[in-house]
Subunit: 337 residues, 2 copies
Amino acid sequence: MKPSVGIRDVAQHAGVSNATVSNVLNRPDVVAPATRQRVLAAIEELGFVRNESARQLRAGRSRVIAYVVLDAANPFFTDVARGVEDAAREAGFSLFLCNSASDGSRERDYLELLHEQRVEGILITPVDTESAGFADRGTPVVLVDRETADGTRCSVAVDDVLGGELAVTHLIENGHTRIAMVGGPLSIQQVRDRREGAVRALTNAGLPADALTFLETRGLQVAEGRGAGERLVGLPSSRRPTAAFCANDLLALGLLQSMTQQGLRVPDDLAVVGYDDIEFAAAAAVPLTSVRQPREQLGRTATRLLLAEHEQDHEHRHVKFQPELVVRASTAVKRST
Amino acid sequence: MKPSVGIRDVAQHAGVSNATVSNVLNRPDVVAPATRQRVLAAIEELGFVRNESARQLRAGRSRVIAYVVLDAANPFFTDVARGVEDAAREAGFSLFLCNSASDGSRERDYLELLHEQRVEGILITPVDTESAGFADRGTPVVLVDRETADGTRCSVAVDDVLGGELAVTHLIENGHTRIAMVGGPLSIQQVRDRREGAVRALTNAGLPADALTFLETRGLQVAEGRGAGERLVGLPSSRRPTAAFCANDLLALGLLQSMTQQGLRVPDDLAVVGYDDIEFAAAAAVPLTSVRQPREQLGRTATRLLLAEHEQDHEHRHVKFQPELVVRASTAVKRST
DNA sequence: CTCAGCCGTTAAAACGTTTCAACATCGAGG
DNA sequence: CCTCGATGTTGAAACGTTTTAACGGCTGAG
């Protein structure tokens, strides 16, 4: 079982040289049909499995790319991953998924491992954009849903400032003048950008900056959204916002649940806008208005950029998508006063 | 940039032999501190990255395991994966995630690749238990959330018959006598088992078998649940069930949404029980009663079994966990008639 | 002063492929 | 009959590590 049959065992068993076996494996057309059959039979009979390490060592190629994802439990990222996987598959590559779970040290470990594995390329949504944690180590790296400060690598992102603006403008148009924004921590670029967009929407509408109540959370999970909901309801009713813009759908779902539990109705007592438009947003009991990002496309595009890095004349590119507001029941028009 | 610095470049640069560099990398304690520093400096300076292919080829070891997951978009599996990852990390292994997306051909491709990569072991929730698609190829394989017909490999599973029984018994105790079961396709073992459990619950309670209306779906997604909801409401009210047991939480969430949209209340008009107890179940606007599986533990246990396969006297083991009913608002006690 | 023993270092042999130049074999064209 | 090109096959040299046994220099005991 363990004596690990190699290419030379196959060769001997088929009465040919190892070079021929290799040819059968890599350029089947170059070897005569008869011999090919004989070799294939031998492979089958001996249960030969090609040793990828040796192959890669010699050939240099790898046929594998990796996506280091920020949070595998967030459907947003699994959707991006689907796009990556599809594009990779079309190009003949396989995809290894690695979950950093927002943990810098895991991220570092995985990057190290992937570099050592000599994968053809790495896609990553990094924990922290600033951290120069991942220096150039020869393996192409493309940032997903993040922008590079410097232009040292390709990136694919979505205009989060615009997204925030769309969301809050929609709320203002629906008659809201006291609006909460839920999200955090502020160390995350996305959260900062989306808040900036929200503020811009207020300014555009001629509303004062303090029309926006910022409720900072410690993360972007459902539980954090629930907590924010309790804080929100605890505010004196004169100052309590009539609408909330959440930095992501998980928060929005938590907020929604919190409202229901406290006997408040969405959108009547509080309108809610989420961000990402994950499937659960549409499937919530009160379907969520949300800012849609082109998730699969994000993944596909990132993958294409990554695979293009091998071209000799490669220039780093930065693609930026436009988000889109999807209106649902959670912000149904407020009854006119 | 491309001239790929190797161990011998480092050696030369530090004025030692390549064996010493290798020792610094693998047994730092055996080399004199002074030389070690010199070598480390050279590594840093040249930006050396160890070539894992060569290492693995020579050393035989791999430090990587893989989990081929059935559906990366289902939170149930990402939770299992978390358990796997934690256990792997503790044992000093890294985890590669592969998503078969319920597609047999993808699954086959990934298995082939992983065997060729000579990963230390493979965890898999297979698309189809019957398919002998993955023969023994020398790499240990452990089944997750599935049982083996034959005892040829380890497996970790949950008692799905019991789970179905728990769910439906709970509904019966709440006074329901017309119950729907939503799930499918029946080619999935889990669905069959859970239905069997449901039937058993009816029998135990002395109810006729036709008290259970089986609504078969084409898959286990949210959208399928919505569709089932419409079918359910379309039934003549005399025969319409007052409670539904869904084969997984995604279906239950879809069903829930469908009810709300059609103006029916949960649990008053229809009680709903899901399965898996994913986070979104508790976070739904009407928190879902669900059958909880020990997800992280499933992953952890499977990983331990996998890593134990290398022991010389290894015997294949089959671990089976008990599920647990978590009661929430979606099945709040029916008002006594 | 010699010798055993220890320590740190090294030369060289693997590991299992791919690849390349060279080599047979054969039929056809001159 | 010789040469040529095409077609299939092969021997041997890489690829970049790890590993083993051997080596030289030093120390302290005899």
